[in-house]
């Protein structure tokens, strides 16, 4: 398996993401101007590039000199011209190694993280990535630099899933590491102790971070379409069981449903955004859902 840029940003994926660019930019910029007005608003530190004006852009940032030469509207863009920090926490535990389709849950989580990073960086927002299992195995600090994407992708591709999940420890360390208010996106299968998970999430919320959970699950974990006599061997020392899965399917699905409901209910109680995604879902649909979700948040 290659872990290069091409692996996560396939041309068709990039194309799909590009179609989202307009909406993503609007969501991100609206998010910045509406909800999280930056204390550094109007003060640029370092010119980076020009960008063509699109309706909705702040007209005060139009570079009139360029207009006088080209008769077209361009905006000046400066480094750190944002106050939005997005931190992507990707679960790299052994349970994420499970997958019955073309992608494992970890592969899918990496892809989602890469796509979101690209989207965020395209908006000149800063993005940071943390990969964890029982501890944070790699951490790419937040940055909005144009070349930060390659660092993010390297950070994501550098590790494969392994080890057990120590969710509270990871979230505590992440909370301690984030000095600025951020949007924390946790991409995980959440197969860990639920109480520890929500205690960790509560720490993030107490520090005023917005938290989004992208609950990644495989189709078989949700549908359990197994047949014949099988011996299930649990990842992360989950135990072993030889059984006729068809006979246990009903009880399994009930347990999964109860698990989802518990997560959903407790997220709602903690004002945490929750999105369940299947590894078979298309990325554009997932991103669209996330951005739509943010639009809903900004509309408040």
């Amino acid at each position: 398996m290659t872990h290069g840029l091409e692996r996560f940003l396939q041309p068709d994926e990039i194309a799909k993401i590009s179609r989202l660019e307009l909406r993503a930019r609007k969501v991100v910029e609206g998010f910045v101007s509406g909800l999280h007005r930056s204390p550094y608003f109007g003060q640029s530190t370092e010119f980076v590039q020009h960008r063509e004006y699109v309706p909705g852009d702040d007209t005060r940032r139009i570079d009139w000199k360029v207009w006088s030469r080209t008769d077209r509207y361009f905006l000046k863009q400066f480094e750190e011209d944002t106050n939005v920090r997005v931190v992507l926490l990707v679960d790299g535990s052994e349970s994420m190694q499970f997958g019955t389709g073309s992608l494992t849950k970890f592969d899918y989580a990496q892809t989602v993280a890469a796509a979101l990073s690209m989207l965020v960086l395209k908006q000149n927002d800063s993005v940071g990535v943390g990969l964890f299992d029982s501890q944070i195995r790699s951490l790419i600090p937040s940055s909005s630099r144009h070349n930060h994407l390659s660092a993010v992708l390297r950070g994501l591709s550098a590790e494969t899933a392994g080890g057990k999940t120590d969710m509270i420890g990871v979230l505590r360390r992440a909370a301690e590491a984030m000095s600025h208010r951020s949007i924390v996106i946790l991409i995980s299968d959440l197969l860990c102790d639920r109480d520890q998970l929500f205690r960790g999430l509560q720490l993030l919320r107490q520090r005023q971070h917005e938290v989004l959970i992208v609950h990644t699950m495989d189709d078989q974990e949700l549908d359990f379409d197994y047949a014949g006599t099988l011996r299930f061997e649990g990842l992360e020392d989950g135990g072993k069981l030889t059984c006729d899965p068809a006979a246990l399917r009903e009880g399994y699905l009930d347990a999964v449903k109860e698990f989802q409901e518990t997560i959903r209910r407790r997220c709602a109680g903690s004002i945490i955004d929750y999105k369940l995604v299947r590894t078979s879902d298309h990325l554009d649909a997932v991103l669209s859902h996330l951005l739509n979700f943010r639009i809903g948040m900004t509309g408040k």
């Binding site: 495989d218 974990e221 197994y226 099988l230 299930f232 061997e233 990842l235 246990l248 009880g251």
Partner: protein, 765 residues
């Protein structure tokens, strides 16, 4: 393995089928051992589901496994043709099954097949059924009886166990087939009697039989007996030991005009033969044995079409007096026993005839004597012309018959003896003339119980010449068909026309209404004017012929030419017709209990029996000495059994009698029975016993027809080869459908259970 045959018609499928029943278990175990490994993340939910459903899953999987095993077993039962009737299972019906096994030992079971008789195969089948049934001691009770002796069971209501088998085996092997003609009715009724007294048991009747059509088809009483068994809920299994009908020729009857014949006089024996086969019989011969010696001349038997009869006559001449045993034996065929028939004949130097003539010159007696014994060498008859005094002085039993010619009247004791003689089987011919005392004839001889004269005598009539044409002074008799008129009954016979009657007795009853005439009196000949001329009536076992004209030529031209030839023949036939039964010889069929009864005054209570040799058992008794026991006199002389009641010749009315039975007289042959008079003189009676011809039709009944005798279907016919032990071998058809229905039910349940336990993903459109 053999015990399986009592439950299965194809027992060979049972063990492989039982082995196949383990296949679902093996598959189940293998599936538990052979699995694919899956590394799975969400184990906590799977373990949670397993913990909640484990108990239910185990039960459901065991149930599914059980259904699959049951399906395999049911398929095996279908293939092996399981024949146990569930309604008869011990578990469902009670603790015990009572089997009544009837062995058909009628004569037809002696049919020879493959060098042994069918009865031996029946006994083998019985032994097999008993031994297989004996494998479950305590659950079966058994009664064994035969068709010839249903009232004498071999075993009655005994528990079938090894002890009984050990006791029965030698007895069964010594069992012999009877020579009797018996229908299944009595045995089936006996079985019903045995079973009807048992409450709370499962009754079953098995009859091992040759299933002859003559016994089972066309007999409403058999169907009624089967219906009676159905009424007590008893299943009837007919185990058929013969499947094919055999060709059989039988000597059906041996008859003769008389069984008393004189030395040197030809004696004609008539053989009636019947072909019971499907093909014409030809080229058969019959050997004749006299006193055990084969005569050099055989009887040629004509071709006999299938189902037809033929009568063959054969003359024998005996050269010594005494009783002689005659056996006619055909060539051997399927049923050897009915190829032989026995008869016994009493041969004397002369046959004595008493001619009583009270007319002074006794001319009429001379004519009769001349007709009967003109040449004693030819007729063997010896006439004795006496007056009526002889009736009280001579033993009348020594005469074949008595002619009473021109008797005016008889003393009372003579009349009494004469009545006793006739009642005992003697024959009398009356020829009264004008000296007869009509008052005596019309009173003494008309007494109830000893009516020796048939009609009331009227006056003597003569032909009135003025009423006759051509001035003839006689009338011709008109003869009815009768054995004594054989010569006159010949078509266009000239002999009758030449008989001329000029005087005769008119009967006093002629003027009475015809309705008032005694119906026991038959008019054998009338005159042309309608007056009766010759009459016949019976008294006891004897016959009385009454001629209303004289025997001589005074009243007719009968004894003289041209009527004399007919006269001679007629009197010879009258002798045969009136001949006293020969008491020293007797013929009858084997069957029933042979019983003799006689007055105490006639013989002592001792009876010696010389039995015929037994071809099957050389060590069998050949001599018996029996003692008769007193019995009350009975009008019938025995309750329908084979009793031989000797006539009471004492003339003193009912007297104390003695009776004895000879149970050993159960095989064909000639039996010599010797009784002793009070003075010690021994009197022998030779009894020829032949097998009954009613068992000779060896056609086998159609099993479907026999089964249809019972509308409820409780009668089943099976072949002896597939007969199993006593607890099974029936109701196969019903079980087949029951098993099939059960199998379908089990398979449907199995599918439903499998559907429930397996996962079938929805098809996503």
């Amino acid at each position: 393995m053999s015990w399986l045959s009592q439950f299965f018609l194809n027992p060979g499928f049972v063990l492989p089928g039982a082995a196949l029943a383990s296949v679902p278990i093996i598959i189940h175990l293998l599936s538990r051992l052979r699995y694919k490994k899956v590394r799975f993340a969400a184990m906590e939910f799977l373990l949670q589901s397993d913990e909640l459903n484990r108990r239910r899953l185990i039960i459901e999987q065991l149930l599914l496994l059980l259904l699959r095993i049951l399906a395999v077993i049911l398929i095996m039962l279908l293939l092996a043709r399981f024949v146990l009737d569930p309604s008869r299972m011990m578990m469902l019906r009670g603790a015990t099954t009572h089997h009544v096994v009837i062995v058909d030992d009628s004569l037809s079971m002696r049919e020879t097949d493959s060098d042994r008789i069918v009865f031996d195969r029946a006994v083998e089948t019985l032994e097999k059924m008993l031994s297989q049934g004996g494998s479950r001691p305590g659950s079966l009770r058994v009664t064994v009886l035969t068709t010839s002796g249903p009232d004498r069971p071999i075993v009655t209501d005994r528990a079938l166990d090894n002890a009984l088998l050990q006791e029965l085996t030698p007895r069964l092997r010594n069992l012999t087939c009877s020579f009797h003609a018996v229908t299944p009715t009595a045995a089936l009724a006996a079985a019903e009697n045995v079973l009807s007294g048992d409450g709370g048991i499962s009754p079953r009747v098995h009859m091992i039989t040759d299933l002859r059509a003559s016994d089972w088809q066309g007999h409403p009483e058999v169907a009624a007996a089967l219906k009676s068994l159905d009424s007590i809920d008893a299943n009837v299994t007919l185990v058929q030991v013969v499947t094919d009908s055999a060709e059989n020729m039988v000597v059906k009857q041996l008859t003769a005009d008389t069984f008393g014949v004189a030395v040197g006089v030809p004696w004609r024996l008539n053989l009636t033969l019947q072909n019971h086969g499907r093909k014409k019989s030809s080229g058969l011969r019959a050997t004749v044995r006299v006193d055990g010696s084969v005569l050099p001349v055989n009887v040629l038997v004509p071709d006999v079409e299938a189902g037809e009869e033929a009568i063959v006559s054969h003359d024998l001449i005996f050269d010594s007096p005494g009783q002689h045993e005659v056996e006619i034996r055909l060539d051997e065929d399927a049923l050897r026993e009915d190829n032989s028939r026995f008869v016994v004949v009493e041969v004397t130097d002369k046959r004595a005839i008493l001619l009583v003539d009270d007319e002074a010159r006794q001319q009429d007696a001379e004519y009769v004597s001349a007709a009967l014994s003109a040449d004693p060498q030819l007729t063997g008859l010896a006439t004795e012309i006496r007056t009526s005094d002889v009736l009280t002085s001579a033993p009348l039993q020594t005469y074949d018959c008595i002619y009473l010619l021109n008797v005016r009247e008889l003393p009372a004791d003579a009349t009494e003896l004469l009545a006793a003689y006739v009642s005992g089987g003697g024959g009398v011919a009356w020829f009264p003339d004008d000296q007869a005392n009509t008052t005596w004839y019309n009173t003494t001889l008309q007494t109830d119980g000893r009516k020796l004269f048939p009609v009331l005598l009227g006056s003597v009539q003569s032909v009135a010449s003025d009423v006759l044409q051509d001035d003839e002074s006689f009338l011709n008799p008109v003869f009815e068909r009768h054995p004594i008129f054989a010569v006159y009954n010949i078509p266009d016979s000239p002999f009758g026309d030449v008989v001329q009657i000029s005087q005769w007795f008119q009967t006093a009853s002629d003027g009475e209404q015809e309705d008032n005439r005694d119906e026991s009196v038959r008019v054998l000949a009338r005159l042309q004017n309608g007056d009766p001329l010759i009459l016949e009536h019976a008294l006891g076992r004897g016959r009385v012929l009454t001629f209303l004209t004289s025997a001589g030529k005074r009243w007719s031209n009968w004894p003289v030419s041209p009527a004399a030839p007919g006269y001679v023949v007629m009197h010879l036939l009258i002798h045969q017709y009136l001949q006293h039964p020969i008491r020293s010889v007797e013929s009858r069929d084997v069957g029933g209990l042979l019983r003799f009864e006689w007055p105490v005054s006639e013989y002592t209570d001792s009876l010696e029996v010389f039995l015929p040799p037994d071809a099957e058992d050389a060590a069998a008794d050949s001599f018996l000495r029996l003692v008769a026991a007193p019995v009350l006199p009975s009008a019938t002389g025995g309750d329908g059994d084979n009793s031989a009641a000797a006539p009471d010749t004492s003339g003193t009315g009912p007297a104390e009698r003695l009776a004895v039975s000879v149970p050993q007289a159960n095989r064909p042959g000639v039996y010599r029975l010797k009784r002793f008079r009070q003075d010690g003189e021994g009197v022998e009676t030779w009894l020829a016993m032949s097998v009954p011809s009613t068992e000779s039709d060896l056609a086998v009944a159609d099993a479907a027809v026999v089964e249809a005798l019972s509308e409820s279907g409780h009668v089943r016919v099976i072949a002896a080869d597939v007969a199993g032990g006593l607890s099974g071998s029936d109701a196969g058809r019903e079980m087949r459908w029951l098993l099939l229905g059960l199998l379908i039910f089990v398979l449907v349940c199995e599918q439903l259970m499998s559907l429930r336990l397996s996962f079938h993903p929805e098809v996503r459109t």
